[in-house]
């Protein structure tokens, strides 16, 4: 029993070390970083954070990222809900083929889609807006949301639907008032995954934007080029990208434990 907790603790320490090192770097001055190895910041400074919070090109990049991630999560989950219901409750013409085709998009490398996406979203006039990135990310998030939600919905007995129809509920009323609350854990988990995969993706987000909608993942690449190699600034920007993720995990922490088991995922 005790051996298990030692293994677990070691693993968690392994997970936390790079994050600690990032935090450590973000509180150092550039001189101290380049000066040599040190496990703790000697001249503790918040300069890097100050730069980020006062420079619009930095903090706007955060706002841009959060904008497209939220748009993407809402679109993905809202359109995936009825589709997942259809897959879990009905057979229809081409259902299996459609499901596999949806999943196959999860296997498409972003590198394959970069160039065509730039052409496509330029053509429809969305290039360099959060909408372009939000819509592009639905390519892999919608299939994932359908998959997760279908798992959760299949766990709900069909008698629930039938009883509701006998009680005189119409389909929309039943879906919104009875069915959605029943699978709220599944919606939480699906939203968590959509948020996660949209927040962490860089290749599409970077290439579908230029100035106006520049996301944080693209803004970070400039620390290496403009004024030398600013490791402190890079580290601070990195630390700030961890915060939305940490908040989202905190909200779904109970859903992760229960939720994963309920769905087939």
């Amino acid at each position: 029993m005790r051996k298990r907790y030692i293994v677990l603790t070691l693993y968690i320490i392994f997970l936390m070390l790079p994050i600690y090192w990032l935090l450590n770097m973000s509180f150092k001055t550039t001189n101290e970083i380049l000066g040599g190895f040190s496990a703790f910041p000697r001249d503790f400074t918040l300069d890097s954070y100050r730069t980020i919070f006062t420079d619009p090109s930095w903090y706007n990049a955060y706002i841009n990222s959060i904008t497209y991630v939220v748009i993407n999560t809402i679109i993905s989950v809202v359109i995936a809900l009825p589709a997942a219901y259809a897959f879990s409750r009905y057979r229809f013409l081409g259902d299996k083929h459609l499901f596999f085709w949806l999943l196959s998009n999860r296997m498409a490398p972003a590198a394959v889609f970069v160039l065509p996406f730039v052409n496509l979203y330029s053509a429809v006039g969305l290039f360099d807006t959060p909408w372009a990135v939000a819509l592009a990310h639905t390519l892999f998030n919608v299939p994932l949301a359908v998959w997760i939600l279908e798992g959760f919905m299949s766990g709900v007995p069909k008698e629930l639907d039938e009883t509701a129809y006998v009680d005189g509920y119409s389909f929309p009323a039943f879906f919104v008032r009875i069915f959605l609350p029943t699978i709220s854990a599944g919606i939480g988990v699906a939203a968590f995954f959509c948020f996660m995969f949209s927040w962490v993706e860089m290749l599409l987000a970077k290439n579908l934007t230029s100035v106006a909608a520049k996301p944080i993942v693209a803004a970070m690449t400039k620390t290496a080029s403009t004024s030398g190699y600013e490791l402190g600034l890079l580290a601070a920007a990195g630390v700030l990208t961890l915060i939305p993720g940490a908040i989202v995990i905190y909200f779904v922490r109970n859903y992760i434990a229960k939720g994963f088991a309920l769905g087939r995922v």
């Binding site: 298990r4 990032l22 057979r91 229809f92 999860r106 490398p109 069909k158 690449t221 993720g245 994963f260």
Partner: protein
């Protein structure tokens, strides 16, 4: 569950169908279009048949990236799947520590991929990074910008850090879903821990393990951002995986024809191997 046949369900699927079709079919048509044509600019295109495909399939550089990619993905699966399963078995089933462990373990999954690269870049710097300095202090020469072995070690360690958590979460979900009755029955029979694992836990985990293998296979086969930030494909081109090669061709060289042919071959390899994994693991399950 017995499902009723009803073609009206298509109305429910329609929004998803239109959204994904817009995103997938239009670009895919573009890629196919480019892959069979030759262009000299000015939007003039000429039929070129299978030239680009032949060129890519006989390209030494493509063979090299494909070989590197297969070795990388193979190592990733060999390390992450058993490790993730082992960690999930170590997790507490209930109590206040469950949430803490889950949140800490899920954290790497929510780090943007370029930040993962930067993080390990800083971590592995030979003179001021914790990992780089640590390994050098042990007397082993380590420099991931110069030595291919160091670069590979860092890239693999980074991926293990980043993605093992996904395997842990999936396996943990599977383990929690096993009803207590199974364990009680095993206890009555006096089963040893190994027997409990082999005959109760492992069979029940087959479904989540299939998902874990598929997801880890696909994602490691598409790896781009973390590696480009960490090593840029170097030293030389020793960590240049398929996506890095493709992006260099498509965005760097504007060689649209060969890049498009590359894209299609790449996508087909992923589809084929995913199908193979899925079929093999499902056949195993059917036994």
């Amino acid at each position: 569950m017995n499902k009723t046949f009803n073609n009206k369900a298509w109305w429910l699927v329609l929004p998803v169908f239109l959204m994904v079709a817009f995103n997938a079919l239009v670009p895919l048509m573009t890629v196919v279009n480019y892959s069979i044509q030759e262009t000299f600019g000015n939007n003039e295109f000429f039929w070129s048949g299978t030239t680009w495909f032949e060129q890519i399939l006989h390209d030494e550089a493509f063979h090299d990236s494909l070989r590197r990619q297969l070795i990388f993905t193979g190592l990733i699966l060999l390390i992450e799947i058993p490790l993730g399963l082992a960690i999930a078995l170590c997790m507490p089933r209930n109590g206040p520590w469950v949430s803490v462990c889950l949140v800490l373990i899920a954290l790497p999954l929510l780090v943007p991929w370029n930040v993962v690269g930067s993080m390990w870049n800083i971590m592995a710097l030979p003179d001021i990074g914790l990992l780089g300095k640590g390994i050098n202090a042990l007397g082993i020469p380590f420099n991931y910008t110069r030595q291919p072995i160091s670069a590979w070690f860092t890239v693999i360690l980074m991926d293990v850090w980043h993605w093992t958590s996904l395997v842990v979460l999936l396996c943990y979900a599977g383990l929690v879903a096993i009803p207590d009755a199974y364990y009680q029955a095993a206890k009555v029979d006096g089963a040893r821990p190994w027997a409990v694992f082999r005959y109760i836990q492992l069979p029940k985990l087959k479904h989540v393990l299939t998902i874990a293998v598929l997801l880890r296979f696909m994602d490691s086969f598409m790896i781009y951002t973390e590696v480009i930030v960490l090593t840029g494909g170097g030293p030389g081109s020793t960590t240049k995986f398929l996506s890095i090669d493709l992006v260099q061709k498509a965005l760097g060289g504007f060689d649209l024809g060969p890049a498009a042919a590359f894209s299609i071959v790449y996508f087909l390899i992923i589809l084929f191997l995913s199908w193979l994994f899925y079929t093999l693991m499902m056949r195993e399950e059917a036994k």
